[in-house]
Amino acid sequence: MKNKGIAYSVVNAIMAFLIIGMTIFLIFFHIGGYFSIKETVQQNENERKAIALGELLSTTDLLVYSDGYTVHKGVLAVEKLTNLQDKQSKIFDAINFTDINYYFKITDLETDESWSFGSPQVSRTTQLLRIVYTPYKKDFPVSIKYTDGKMNIGMLSVTVEVLTAI
């Protein structure tokens, strides 16, 4: 009878450990999953923002060639690219992504001439935190239209930087 009682206690103890172990495992499993999903969703969101910005810039009449009636998507007029810095605030005002930093580079792939605006952020360390800017870059093929009618192939690169404090 006494031995039977001990056996029951051992079984109960093992069951208790098992339940505690399972609970701890489940909690860590969910916490790990939560952070993993959060990170992936954030990356996806940043890629979407970069794509949205690229689509926006390749259609805005601030940069794109227009014949007075039609804005030609993806055809960047070179005379509109020459004074980009002056237009920077106008373009940036139209973008409402307040939580990210972004910069753009347009390159004529045939002549290697390039135009850019915005500025990349530099990661830095404060007294308590390390501030890191993680870049997400997307490229969009564009045509560069010169005033003499010449059309060259070009690339619009959009870089979105996301602030992370470690």
Partner: protein, 144 residues
Amino acid sequence: MKGLIDIIIFGVVFTLILGFGTIFPYVELNTVFRAQTTIEYKYSSVSQALIVLLSETQQDSQTATIKPVIEIIGEYLSSDSKPDMSFINNDLNLLFKNKCYRFSVSSQTFGSGLCKEENVTITKNIVLPYNKQKLLGEIKLVGE
């Protein structure tokens, strides 16, 4: 002892079902969204690359005049004397950098190598000049 093994098996199965059952829908949804974004971007990018290539101006090797590439390809497809199209490889190398592409005009193909089947394929018809028998010619760009 048999009861203990049953409890352990039940515990493991319960944990797995609850864990994966809770996490899996989120992972699956996010994977679907991510795949959708990537496919849309790829399709838009390859489509835009083809438009950029066709609207680019190049010197026609036969007439020595500056023409849009779409006209040079049209002449290549419709006339017996073929214009030089070697610039296309160079242009596509610039557009696609180190990525895979394959551009087909009639039987001639320009390519960086083998592309996987799941890459984006854009097919367009272009107008052929001086050709009453066939008004449209097909061009195809496969890219990633």
